[in-house]
Symmetry: C2
């Protein structure tokens, strides 16, 4: 079931279960209906269900039906947009970072544009994977202009947050723009995040600027949606015309 209709259905059902669309202990639609919904034969649906069963996400009982089974399955981390990880470590859970790649190369056009560099400028590129309690949940690719990247060492990246390294570099990080989309997992990130190629990922890109509007860092992050989710609270302001972000009181 490397890549096939059965796998599509498997992935869709897995997302639905993880997303609470089907509640714990609840019955899934019967195989015949799932087959109709996806326009495939029952045999194909069965292969998808078999994969889910093997993963322990569902239980099938002949004559009765198919049921969601989430006993000890962890819920995704809910991260605030503004500050991603500060409170995680405070909660006593341990995130570890693995550095997969590090080097200097010519900026691709898209990166050069984002950072406001010349087309042939050199940038430091690093690829890191972050894991929570041993379970990888994010794949981070960062681009930093060469001059700034040289202010810290490769080994620093594996142990310290990049933003704190940039702070020490003497540049004043003032503002950032970020945008969130969705992407399919390519083989390389799929391997790094321990998922299958073609899974859905949250794609976040962020560019950080200093006071003078110079680009300091460009980040392309991919998150496993079953382990990481972006959360935000909104409050209506007095006029009632707009919704504005409500800042949480967590440290």
């Amino acid at each position: 079931m490397e890549s096939s209709k059965a796998r599509q259905i498997y992935l869709v059902l897995r997302d639905r279960i993880a997303g609470g669309h089907y509640a714990d202990k609840a019955a899934l639609p019967v195989e015949q209906d799932l087959a109709a919904e996806h326009g495939v034969s029952r045999a194909t649906v069965r292969r998808a269900l078999a994969a889910l069963e093997e993963e322990g996400l569902i239980t099938r009982r002949q004559g009765a039906g198919t049921f969601v089974s989430l006993d000890g399955k962890p819920r995704p981390i809910a991260a605030d947009f503004s500050d991603a990880l500060a409170h995680l470590t405070a909660m006593g859970r341990t995130t570890t970072v693995q550095l997969l790649a590090f080097g200097y190369e010519e900026a691709s056009p898209a990166i050069a544009d984002a950072l406001g560099l010349q087309r042939n400028a050199m940038v430091q590129r690093s690829v890191r994977v972050r894991a929570l309690d041993g379970a990888p949940f994010s794949h981070l690719t960062t681009f930093v202009p060469e001059a700034i990247g040289r202010t810290y060492a490769e080994a620093d990246l594996a142990s310290k947050p990049l933003l704190s390294l940039l702070d020490r570099s003497g540049h004043v990080l003032a503002r950032a723009t970020q945008s969130v989309g969705a992407q399919l997992a390519t083989p390389d990130v799929a391997a790094a995040l321990d998922i299958e190629t073609g899974s859905a990922l949250i794609a976040l890109t962020r560019t950080v600027f200093d006071q003078d509007g110079r680009g300091i860092e460009h980040l392309a992050a991919l998150y496993r949606p079953d382990r990481y989710v972006f959360r935000m609270d909104l409050q209506r302001d007095r006029s009632g015309a707009r919704w504005s972000p409500a800042l949480r009181n967590e440290t």
Copy 2:
């Protein structure tokens, strides 16, 4: 190429092109390298490229290479998190709404939990698709407690924003929580959004509460990432410890 390795590669490359990973007019990796990257044969890569070419996203020239071709291709809309669509219509572009489903049903466990209802409570469920200049970009499923849903008519949903309808119902919408993830397109939403099953979608869920903390509306939205992107500006606050959302000055 309904669902296959070739299709995975096609989708991945399409995302990369739309996401600016390969710049306009730039050359893609040669077929041999793409094949190696994805661990498939060159024939398979060629089928993916053929699909991209048919869509006009690339141009292939024998002996020269394969090139990105984004002439009149529209860029995705960048929406702010707090208020999604207010400024869109102000820009003169027209969004249209199509009501795909409307009715009252028993709340699923997940929905009941989100809204703080009893397990067997009835809710109004509606499914809408929103399009910009005729191109669909979002698939919205909303759940509203029955008593509140009865305060407006089915026809209202096709013409007015739901939040304004809820305003008129006499309930004071005070705060909301929303979270963003990613999901694969199921056949039904794929058809509604004019994409292929298995494409990556941004999944946003939002629950709106009134002053007393009662759930008023639960929204499950799916967005095409090539047409819609969530954007946010961040500013560092004085202490330097946190990043906080910077409110834009657009009306």
